[in-house]
């Protein structure tokens, strides 16, 4: 895939996908002139197979499979460095968000699973508790990711320092949070939201 020849035509360039990313991110990909400044300052560049500028380039050519096939988008730390410095105000951080959403909705065509898992647990946590419950987040992540021993040494120390709460506090708005989730899901089903 990575090195396969790119056949360009109006059919092979998925303009619809690009428009969706542009709408979600509120940022045009055509404005990018491939200067590479985004990639130059990206702290996560070395973890990515497609540097940020190439992600935009692939979008310009409507090559969404190539973008989503890699794990690059999941390595973006949302640090906003690229968006801040881009001479054309291409909001790459927002584009990354949009791409992750597309990948997420497509039930994860991306290779990266750990970040997705952490995100999912985090969001589940919100849904269940209204707030983050770090203890549970860490515990479940460790179980689900199969990394039982990970951070084993850190946990107890944090508990003694009072940093990991064994129990979560009750939040009166949990119900309301759940309803927000439900309404959004409903809107999406009806096609009222992306």
């Amino acid at each position: 895939m990575k090195h396969a020849k790119m056949q360009l035509s109006t059919e092979t360039m998925n303009v619809g996908f690009v428009r969706k990313v542009e709408a979600l991110s509120g940022s045009s990909v055509r404005r990018c002139f491939q200067c590479g400044k985004c990639s130059a300052g990206c702290p996560m560049r070395s973890f990515m197979e497609h540097p940020p500028n190439r992600i935009v380039r692939l979008l310009q050519l409507g090559q969404y499979e190539r973008v989503l096939a890699g794990r690059s988008i999941w390595y973006c730390a949302s640090c906003e460095t690229c968006s801040t410095r881009c001479p054309n105000k291409v909001d790459l951080a927002a584009i990354m968000d949009a791409l992750r959403k597309c990948s997420w909705d497509a039930q994860g065509p991306s290779k990266e699973s750990l970040v997705q898992l952490a995100n999912r647990l985090f969001i589940d946590n919100i849904k269940t508790y209204g707030r983050q419950y770090e203890m549970r987040l860490a515990a479940v992540f460790n179980v689900k990711s199969g990394q039982f021993l990970k951070d084993l040494m850190l946990g107890p120390k944090l508990i003694t320092k009072g940093k990991l709460k064994m129990f979560h506090s009750k939040n009166k708005n949990v119900g309301e949070v759940e309803r927000i989730f439900a309404r959004i899901e409903e809107m999406r089903k009806k096609g009222e939201a992306e």
Partner: protein, 665 residues
Amino acid sequence: MSRIGVFVCHCGENISRTVDVEKVAAAAARLSGVAYATDYKYMCSDPGQGLLKKAVAEHRLDGIVVAACSPRMHEKTFRNAAKSAGLNPFLCEMANIREHCSWVHEDREEATEKAISIVTMLVERVKKNRKLVPITVPITKRSLVIGGGIAGIQAALDIADAGHEVVLVEREPSIGGHMAQLSETFPTLDCSQCIMTPKMVDVANHPNIRLYTYSEIENVEGYIGNFQVTVRKKARSVDMDKCTGCGVCTAKCPQKKIPNSFDRDLGMRPAIYVPFPQAVPNTPVIDRANCTYFKTGKCGVCQKVCGPGAVDYEQQDELVVEPVGAIVVATGFELYDIGPKPAGSPYEGYGEFGYGTIPDVIDGLTFERLASASGPTGGKIVRPSDGKEPKQVVFIQCVGSRAREKGISYCSKICCMYTAKHTMLYHHKVHDGQAYVFFMDARTPGKNYDEFWRRSIEEEEAVYIRGMVSRLYQKGDKVVVMGSDVLVGVQVEIEADLVVLATAVQARTGADSLAQKLGISYDKYNFYSEAHAKLKPVECATAGIYLAGACQGPKDIPDTVSQASAAAAKVMTLFAKAELEREPIVAKVNERNCVACFYCKKVCPYGAVEEKEIRDRNGNLIRVVAYVNPGVCGGCGTCQATCPSKSVELDGYTDEQVIAMIDAL
């Protein structure tokens, strides 16, 4: 015995701080031939100059040395002072004891010694100086413009508007050049014809412009202010005075299938034709090579149908001599040929693009004709092979240009912009079409140019792909483009309906032979050379000849028009004077010694050396010698250093003067 005056300046303290000026003056006074020597605080001040003038009168001085600053600073000042004192200005010299002495040495003794030696050298030089008189040359206040593209048109109109006569010579049957072929023009997208034709009509109607179309330069003689130009008016076979431009002949001509080169062979024309409807003049010309009458002696239809009887099969080429004082060269450019490599061409050609054999691979100018509302398709973009509307169009930039090993190293400068324009024109006309551009850089350094290019991408949705194309080949009715996107790092393949090559801008074929007639220089690509890339960008090294437009190098219309107006301004500057006056630092030939080897002629960068025939009273040729035209000589002295028989001498820098200085060491 000479009577030289020496004036040593203190320059406030600038000189006197390190140089003992009194001692210098005293030493000068002791030199043989020095009649008067003094020192003064500020020689360039009014009293300083007064002192000099007074001394000239009182001491009957016949030479002056001012020991002061650099001659680059005040030589004019003191020569003028000498002149007003009644002395020939060229008998006044400056000894530079400031920039070359007091400011660069600290040791007073050494500096004083050096100052004395500098003054001595100049005193010895002045003794050998001769009186020189500024040269004046008369000026014929008419000018010639060669080439009737936008450059020639603009220059001609400007000069004519200034009240001077202009002779405009155009090779083709109509003026207009390339701009007449364009559809719409970057960066504003105005219609080329709309802004061009009014100017063409102005040329035709201007009382000060004499227009020769279908004409070429046969010969050029003379020099700045005084050229004699012979123009060959090619036989048009139509009497310009009688023809009313009714067009009956062209309509009736049975020969209708001749490819129209104005339309890049996309359309056809008859044998008697005007190249395009808005042509100026609107007088047809018979293409004799394709006319039945000229080939077989039969037909003669045009003559029969022509009411005013303008068709004249017997017409001959005509030579006219035009005296002019200045010449503007505006012969424009040609596009790199995508066809097979012509024999003997220094260019390699593009076999990988099919050498012009794939019908749907065209060049930019052909695309212009397709997009032009007055073009052969009425502005409908179709492909040459089957007339279908192309939905996938690939543009390839830098074809020929920037390909050192294929023959051309330079960037053609306009193709990035016109390709961007093409993608826009295409998208405006074919909404569901997709334009792709293979490019290496986007070179758009003009006012509003980069914005224009970005618009083609951001608004007209052209897909730009950074990378050159490896190969094109025909596959069914498609042209397969094998490229690569170096940003993504993968190969790219596009099955195109039409491929447009942005081919290099080249000098005109035959540009070199015109240059030789004019005696101007050209570079290895046959573009004409300006005298100085930055400071004399419109002047040729040859005085009185100026450059405008793409004949000097690739240029777009704004640059072309700017340069044309600049060239016109140069011509007007020349014509503003009654006579040409120049410094008399020019070479002279001693005809008695000259052995006619003409080494001088070979080395002279200005082409100032001519061959002069010496005849006896009966007109018999005795011998040939060199002659330096003082109107042309730039005064470099190269001829003198080269002449093996010491027969040519540069005034102001004679051997005598130089040797005198050396001997005074």
